[in-house]
């Protein structure tokens, strides 16, 4: 393997910057996952409310907006919004599964491909768990785990491959829909954050390829 070493503990400044970048990527994926898997509790809203927009940039501004809205949102309001967006009566306003976005149906080929790739990484859904793995939150959680090396050790090319195969084809569209969703208030800036981040990730991977 000729990939960049993942060594931790080196004093080399470049490696320290690399490590920090991966920590931040993991944090952003995890933030998205945390809000999308289930509504944020008060503690999570407080963390989101403390995010700054320092450093500028479009993504920084979107995070700053998310922070402002998070500070005026209660856990109950967040739960209601999450319910209206993703659960609903019968179904929510959005259907946050890769298969649905890519084929119009749940549990189609994109899910099968994902399961194969997860298995290759040593990841699997527990027996008896009915929830499909191609939920956007699960995909973000996998990306977080790959970025920080906690779920599986893959080099950047491996992360790019997972991203290209399972997020790039639809995640930007999903986050755009989230931005525009009728029920979205707290989730509106989260949608912006997600949409921008997916683009930035794609650009970053392209530069590293």
């Amino acid at each position: 393997m000729k990939e960049e070493p993942r060594t931790v503990g080196t004093t080399d400044r470049r490696s320290a910057e690399e490590a920090e970048t991966e920590v931040l990527r993991a944090a952003l994926y995890r933030l998205l996952a945390r809000f999308l898997a289930a509504p944020p509790d008060a503690a999570t809203l407080a963390v989101a409310g403390g995010l700054g927009d320092e450093g500028g940039g479009e993504l920084g501004s979107a995070l700053g907006l998310l922070a402002r809205v998070a500070r005026t949102t209660t856990a109950e309001q967040a739960a209601q919004e999450h319910h209206d967006l993703f659960i609903g009566v019968g179904r929510g306003e959005l259907v946050p599964y890769a298969s649905f976005y890519r084929t119009g149906f749940l549990n189609e080929k994109p899910l099968a491909l994902l399961r194969g790739d997860l298995a290759a990484l040593g990841l699997a859904r527990a027996p008896g768990n009915p929830e499909p793995e191609d939920h956007i939150a699960a995909l973000c959680e996998v990306m977080a785990g790959l970025a920080e090396g906690s779920l599986a050790t893959v080099d950047l090319a491996g992360q790019q491959r997972f991203f290209d195969r399972h997020l790039a084809p639809w995640a930007g569209r999903f986050f755009g829909d989230l931005e525009r969703a009728r029920a979205a208030r707290l989730y509106q800036p989260l949608g912006t954050v997600g949409r921008l981040f997916v683009d930035i990730e794609a650009a970053g991977f392209a530069l590293a390829a």
Partner: protein, 66 residues
């Protein structure tokens, strides 16, 4: 590692930095929902509309454990 590779690695970090990724630093302590659920005593609190808290959390939690 080739020099070109170092250069491109830097370009990638620069893209992420300029976009404002640093603003998420304060969230670095967030844990995966599943791991949190694991730490806490399982006390599902169904809220309005019979919302089920556990399903997606389960997905991840399991993913994270493997």
């Amino acid at each position: 590692m080739s020099e070109r590779r170092q250069e491109t690695g830097r370009g990638r970090r620069e893209v992420l930095r300029l976009a404002g990724l640093g603003a998420v630093g304060g969230a670095a302590g967030l844990v995966a929902p599943g791991r949190k659920a694991e730490a806490a005593t399982p006390a599902p609190t169904p809220t309005s509309g019979g919302y089920r808290v556990t399903e997606h959390v389960e997905t991840y939690y399991r993913l994270a454990r493997f």
